[in-house]
Amino acid sequence: MRPYKKIDAEDIAVLRTFVPKERFFVEDEIHPDYAHDEMMIYGKKEPDVVIQIKSADEASKIMKYASEHNIAVTPRGAGTGLCGGCVPLYGGIVINTSLMNQILEIDPDTMSITLEPGVLLMEVQEAVKAAGFLYAPDPGEKSATVGGNVMTNAGGMRAVKYGVTRDYVRGMQVVTPEGEILELGGKVAKNSSGYSLLHLMVGSEGTLGVVTRITMKILPSPKKMTSLLIPFDSLSAALKTVPEIMKLPEVATTIEFMEKEVLDDAQEYLGKEFPNRNYPAYLIVSYSGNSQQHIESMLDMASKTAMENGALDVFLSDTQERQETIWNARGAFLEAIKNSTTEMDECDVVLNIDKVAEFVEYTRECSKKYNVRIRSFGHAGDGNLHVYICKDNLDDETWNTVVEEVMNGFYAKARALNGQVSGEHGIGHAKKKYLEESVGASQMNLMKKIKRVFDPQGILNPGKIVD
């Protein structure tokens, strides 16, 4: 309960006994990165203690002590979040799970993988691929931890066909704020056994429990994935084509949109040319399948639909080298925009896919009205946009006003279009205001009550999602 107890020498002496000394950090030993995630614009706050845990047992001891002494605890993975979710707003303890980085089992008989939360997304994708299977979720930030992905219900490029991280979580071991170790779900493929505490945990951003083990579904790997790079003379023409492609008999794996300006930023950032780069806007549409013939029939349908809807050409990316060129550029967009400006703020709204064009048009109007550079890219196939407002040379005062007004406008527009505040990045502490405006008082009250059931004292990741 706030105010939380300020950690003192006595607390430190006890907490030190829970882990070997090389995994315990105080004061100057704490790396400055623990004070923020990737969006420093949302503010920084240093923790008093950082503990790198290696087991649920260690997490349990820490949580028991913290709840007995009313100390704030913030769990953290790789710190690649974009809403301030891992920032210890009230100081206290940061539990870092990144050393819990073992893949415990890939089980072909149940088509599942069991792993510790600190395994990086790139590592799990690689390991599952090496075993001959597919880890379907494909969020853009490959150096994020799987624990972080689960806790934000990360989405990514392949959500059109395969869904999001939540759809793959089968079981979880979590440590409650009071230190109890729970086993939620398991390897089973379905589960109607009462309220799903498992799915309350997914997307809870570390506010309900500390995840210490995860079991996830894996899929048979399609033999081949081919992408089409489809240029248009305007982004709205590209976006209006998306619902038509979605109606085709085969579901695309990925439908992304991008504009020339963002590609230019990515080229500069990567120091590498993008192929066929002189068009105003593009869709990238990918299909996966098991035979050349099967894929070709999908490509035929998609290219025909694209041309009927104003595409200027249809380019084929059918080899590993070509796929890497396109997807490396796509993967660099966020960093490239970051690199192109002095400071930026981000909006991750999700809309009905037939409303994406209207929203992007609105962002353009805002850009003109407020005379500020706005860049966007995103997952056209699932309606999830990433829109960035760039500070560039604006002075602080103008920037603060502009960013506030533009963001208010974005979320109001999303609301008016029946969209949601976050498609995949979460709420953290940065988007709380917009969540409240979006879902309303009744839903917020229910969320607050849920939080209190799990965490009566409110010590776990305080100040995130709900107050």
């Binding site: 590498k272 192929p275 050349q292 380019f315 059918d318 080899t319 080298e321 060129t325």
Partner: protein, 266 residues
């Protein structure tokens, strides 16, 4: 002006598999693609075409299935395509291959510039390009990493040497083999690919070549004796700089110079 780009169909795999018993490359059941390095050669040709309005011909030696890479080259912007296919060409080593391709290029006629990828991803010898130049007795430069100028008379290029880079001026006719990254290759148009498949490809066999001596082609024209084929092993070298900041900076500077990332005398 006429540019010929030499292309090859190779297995579409990162790892070439070798039959452990026979030592022969396993090609069955493996999908194919255009040799990635050839895409850089073709892209270089397309950039020169933009400047000079040259006509681009692509040529390959291989079975009928190798037409796929010619169609792809045409979808990327090549104007005309030539397939050298003949049972008598089979089993060719570097010498016979370069001799055969040189014969094909002579048959095309009036060629100003020949462009090849630096090497293929299956044979990996990096010798066919320069050997074509030798057979044709024209100047040739390998490992070209930058095209500095191209006009009606010739080209200025930058060549990647072991310890340095060299700027070279050549007059036509000449041959270049290009490095990966000289230009970013464009993607083929899926629509043009479909159209290209309706186009005619010129077929060349030995009887259409200037030299009709069967001993110069295929296995009988190949002096190479393969003693053993094995999978290469890779060593990933990682260097850790453990000195002071100043020492590390100096060591890194030298390393970057060696890698030719930054300029400066040693």
């Amino acid at each position: 002006m006429r540019i010929v780009v030499c292309v090859k169909q190779v297995p579409d795999t990162q790892k070439v598999q070798v039959d452990p018993v026979t030592g022969v490359l396993i090609r069955n059941g493996i999908e194919t693609k255009m040799n990635p390095y050839d895409l850089y050669a073709l892209e270089t040709a397309l950039r020169i075409k933009e400047k000079t309005g040259a006509e681009i011909d692509v040529i390959t030696m291989g079975p009928d299935a190798a037409k796929a890479v010619l169609y792809e080259a045409m979808a990327l912007g090549a104007d005309d395509a030539w397939l050298m296919s003949d049972r008598r060409f089979a089993g060719a080593d570097v010498l016979a291959t370069s001799f055969t391709l040189a014969q094909g290029i002579k048959t095309i006629g009036d060629v100003d510039l020949i462009l090849c990828g630096k090497q293929t991803t299956d044979g990996d010898t990096a010798q066919v390009g320069p050997a074509i130049g030798e057979v044709l007795k024209i100047p040739h430069v390998s490992w070209v990493r930058k095209l500095m100028d191209a006009d009606e008379k010739g080209l200025t290029v930058q060549q990647e040497m072991m310890d340095s880079v060299a700027d070279v001026r050549l007059n036509y006719p000449c041959l270049l083999t290009v490095e990966k990254g000289i230009f970013e290759p464009g993607l083929p148009s899926y629509l043009k690919m479909k159209e290209a498949k309706k186009k005619d490809i010129h077929l060349l066999n030995m009887d259409k070549c200037e030299c009709r001596d069967a001993k110069r082609y295929g296995l009988s024209g190949s002096p190479t004796q393969v003693e053993k084929i094995f999978e290469p092993t890779y060593d990933l070298e990682s260097v850790r700089l453990e000195g002071s900041t100043e020492e590390n900076a100096a060591a890194l500077f030298v390393k970057l110079q060696e890698m030719k990332v930054i300029e400066g005398g040693k």
